[in-house]
């Protein structure tokens, strides 16, 4: 009888897991990555009218090392993408990403060579929120979707990113896409 | 020479020249529906009404000519006519005409394929009233099926009678006619005599509104999405000038991008095809839709064909050419001058023989009527470039049978050939799966004429350029690129940057092509002046 296995499957640890997830879910610390107008709506969501504190996510951390949920709100240009990528890499696991608004999710109507046509090409996005910009309700909805993810102990999108510490630049990209990301964009794959 | 004044611009016009032509010459646009330079003038639409000093009411510009006036009757002492195309009277007349035309028009622009290039839309926007005063019920006649490729949406018709005149004057087949009179008049065919001749597609282009619709193009796409590319019809040795209308289709969020030629339209060239093309050329690409394109290079392995990479296929081809025995490079009357020239150059470099395959011969058809100044002929030689291929390969005639008995044959564009006996080694540069490509040992997939640029020489020796309109499917490459790659695989030092570079070399090497102006053909290619740089 493998005792380790037995203990792993026992009630105690699973319940502890659920407890952990319950804790995580109700105290998400967002890392705001606001680059454009969506960030204004994000601020409105944090304000008293919509009050993100009701979900335990009011503790906005401007240091990635203290946060576990990134809200990418706004256009991300090719020049900004390495910054975003590095900030994402600096966040400790487990971490979640919300892509807020049309620009962050798909590039929106800025279908140009300078703009990332969706940040999900480089970092794993868990929840997308459409809108230009989305209403605060939309962001709350996205946050609730993240909470549901945590509750179910799963990530819909499993990234294949190697954890290479604080300097993540050498391994930019996902799904085994290594090296410089710029050619990916200019090839017009998206 | 009468001296006239149109909108403060003085000009002298020839006797018999219409006001419409004179205005066009000095850049004044007069709206019109029924006028067409290739057809008789009937002045039935009244859209081109202009005001003439001394005339009791506005006159149609398309049919009015000016003669020398006696001194006493000249306006301002010197003008034979003073014409206004923009004064109050003209504008009111245009508004009124458009209101009449629109009385029974269904205004179903959202589902009309002409929307976007419709003269009725343009002129209504520019000259018309924005509201109709017509409160009665519109007369909506039924749509009709006129023949194998044309629908008639009778309700959209504005009775310009261009199509009727076309069948009377150009084709002489007289299928179309105006039935009934006045309010009830409509275009129709006689029972049992559908619109079915070899030039019927032109009536769709002639129709200024969306009344005549081509069945092949119906609902395929909106015209404002089309990209226009100038091309030359490869249907016969006449070399009609055409425009290829293409469009890109993109699936949302997906990478799939398909562009296709949606329609072929004639391009005006008075010395070749005037304003028309025949239906053989117009629907030439429709016929290709059912055929299987070759997407990847293939080589024969143990008796069956296997798809391989370009590198492997070119190496296999080079090996077979080098293997020895008599080698013949067979050019094609369906390929451009550049492609044939390069083939000939390569053959010369590797010491092989050169030949050209025979074009397919068909029926010659001439549309001749008393009223038509330029009889339209569909040539019997169903290849665009037989003359050009012979010129650049330095041959006087095809010696097909003899060259096919050679040990190794490199064939270019061989769709028309029905190969009876396979040469011991056959390398085919082909676009479609056909009798030759099935027998071949190496198949190199090539682009068709819409996917590359080049020049064709028609039966009269006119060199005309066609342009690339769409992307090749799969890994198919332009023939000249294949030949350059093949040359390099054979150890030859061939390098060209573009088709224009080949054309330039060709005009320098082939004596009869010395007069061809490359910079006019490839206007976008600028040539470095070597003297200045050195």
């Amino acid at each position: 009888m493998d005792l380790t296995k037995e203990i792993k499957d026992s009630v105690l640890t699973t319940t502890l897991d659920a407890l952990w997830n319950w804790g995580r879910k109700n105290s998400l610390w967002p890392m705001p990555f606001g680059t454009a107008c969506c960030a204004i709506e994000m601020m409105a969501t944090l304000g008293p009218r919509y009050d993100l504190a009701r979900f335990g996510a009011e503790a906005i951390r401007f240091s990635p090392r203290q946060s576990d949920m990134m809200i990418v709100s706004g256009r991300v240009s090719i020049k900004m993408m390495p910054v975003l990528k590095r900030i994402y890499d600096q966040m400790p696991d487990p971490k979640w990403v919300i892509s807020m608004g049309a620009c962050a999710s798909t590039g929106g109507f800025f279908n140009t060579y300078t703009l990332i046509q969706g940040v999900d090409q480089f970092i794993p996005v868990d929840v997308y929120i459409p809108g230009c910009p989305p209403r605060p309700e939309g962001l709350i909805e996205g946050l609730m979707k993240i909470q549901k993810l945590i509750e179910n102990k799963e990530k819909v999108y499993h990234p294949n990113v190697e954890d290479d510490g604080m300097y993540g630049d050498s391994h930019v990209g996902i799904d085994g896409r290594k090296g410089d990301f710029v050619p990916e964009v200019v090839t017009g794959k998206y | 020479m009468p001296l006239i004044k149109i909108d403060d611009q003085e000009l002298e016009i020839a006797k018999g020249e219409t006001i419409f032509n004179a205005a066009k010459r000095i850049g004044i646009e007069i709206p019109y529906y029924c006028y067409h330079p290739g057809l008789k003038i009937v002045a039935s639409c009244r859209m081109c009404l202009v005001d003439m000093v001394g005339a009791p009411k506005p006159v149609p510009a398309c049919s009015t000519t000016v003669m020398d006036m006696p001194e006493a009757r000249k306006v301002d002492g010197k003008y034979d006519a003073v014409i206004s195309t923009t004064n109050e009277r003209v504008l009111t007349a245009r508004k009124a005409v458009l209101e009449f035309i629109l009385l029974n028009h269904p205004i179903d622009c959202p589902i009309c394929d002409k929307a976007g290039e419709c003269k009725l839309q343009d002129y209504s926007y520019e000259h018309g009233n924005h509201d109709s005063r017509f409160i009665e019920t519109k007369r909506i006649p039924e749509k009709k099926d006129l023949g194998p490729s044309i629908f008639l949406y009778t309700s959209r018709c504005i009775m310009c009678s261009r199509c009727v005149r076309f069948t009377q004057e150009i084709t002489g087949t007289e299928e179309l006619k105006v039935r009934n009179r006045g309010w009830h008049s409509e275009i129709d065919v006689a029972p049992g005599h559908p619109l079915d001749n070899k030039m019927m597609g032109n009536v769709v282009d002639l129709c200024p509104v969306g009344c005549l619709i081509d069945k092949h193009e119906r609902f395929e796409g909106r015209v404002w999405n089309f990209v226009h590319t100038e091309s030359v019809c490869p249907g016969c040795s006449k070399g009609c000038n055409t425009v290829l209308d293409t469009m890109k289709h993109q699936k949302l969020n997906l990478e799939e991008l398909v562009d296709t030629v949606y329609r072929v339209r004639p391009r005006e060239n008075m010395e070749v095809n005037q304003w028309w093309i025949c239906d053989d050329g117009r629907y030439l690409l429709e016929g290709n839709k059912d055929r299987k394109r070759l997407h990847f290079p293939q080589i024969r392995v143990n008796g069956s064909m296997a798809e391989v990479s370009w590198k492997a296929s070119l190496e296999a081809a080079a090996e077979k050419i080098k293997a020895g025995g008599k080698v013949v490079f067979v050019g094609s009357p369906y390929a451009s001058n550049e492609e044939n020239y390069l083939l000939g150059k390569l053959a010369k470099a590797v010491g092989a023989g050169v030949d050209v395959s025979k074009p397919l011969m068909g029926e010659m058809h001439t549309f001749k009527t008393e009223m038509n100044k330029y009889p339209f002929t569909i040539e019997s030689e169903k290849a665009p470039n037989f003359r050009g291929a012979k010129d650049v390969l330095g041959l006087s005639s095809s010696n097909e049978e003899a060259s096919l008995s050679a040990q190794t044959v490199v064939m270019l564009g061989n769709d028309h050939l029905n190969l009876q006996k396979k040469p011991s080694t056959l390398i085919a540069i082909a676009s479609f799966e056909n009798a030759v490509s099935k027998l071949a040992d190496v198949v190199l997939p090539a682009a068709i004429f819409t996917e590359t640029s080049g020049t064709f020489t028609n039966k009269d020796g006119r060199v005309q350029k066609f342009n690339k309109a769409v992307q090749s499917p799969g890994e198919a490459k332009a023939v000249w690129q294949i030949l350059v790659d093949l040359a390099q695989a054979l150890g030859q030092d061939f390098y060209y940057e573009s088709v224009g570079a080949i054309t330039k070399e060709m005009t320098e090497q082939i004596s009869v092509y010395k007069t061809v102006d490359v910079s006019a053909l490839f206007a976008e290619t600028s040539w470095v002046d070597e003297n200045i740089i050195a």
């Binding site: 919509y50 919300i98 279908n111 459409p130 996205g142 609730m144 | -």
Partner: protein, 197 residues
Amino acid sequence: MSITVKNVSLPRGKSWIDNTYVIPVFKGLMLTFRHLFKRKDVLRYPEEKKVLPPNYRGLHMLTRDDQGREKCVACEMCSTACPADCIRIVAGDGGWEDSREKHPVEFEIDELRCIFCGMCVEACPEDAIDMTDMHNLADYTREDFIYNKERLLGVYDEYIKRHPDHAKRRDGVFKKMMNSSYFTVSDVEKAKHGTGH
């Protein structure tokens, strides 16, 4: 300009009581305490929802005609007007005898690329595409946001259940616009009926 040093002393209160900070702290806490009894401004989102105006530009829908078919005639005006290029239509032939000769075989909107500008609704000559007040659309994958014809018609069915008087509500907004001084009457009429014949 040379750098100068300025000595700043702490601001002093009027009396020593203020300087102890005891009373002012309680004063501040009192202010906070008072707010407990005031009207709350918080919108408790998933439970409470803001009622949006009828011309709110949310998720698209494809409206149905009285026979239950989509009104759309595949004229591609919406995809032409769309600044984000997020609409894709493939037209089909409904048959020679059918009153609805041209109709969309495929109709896709990428709601994630869409910027909800409402241009498609403005451009539609048949009132076939319209916008609902649905805006809470967050989801997990990009493919979830590509709405095809069936989904968009489904949105209509769902929306019309909640707002059976949708067309009337829209008209009401037009009336309001007409009464306001910002729009002239002709502007509103034009917007309502479209120009032309």
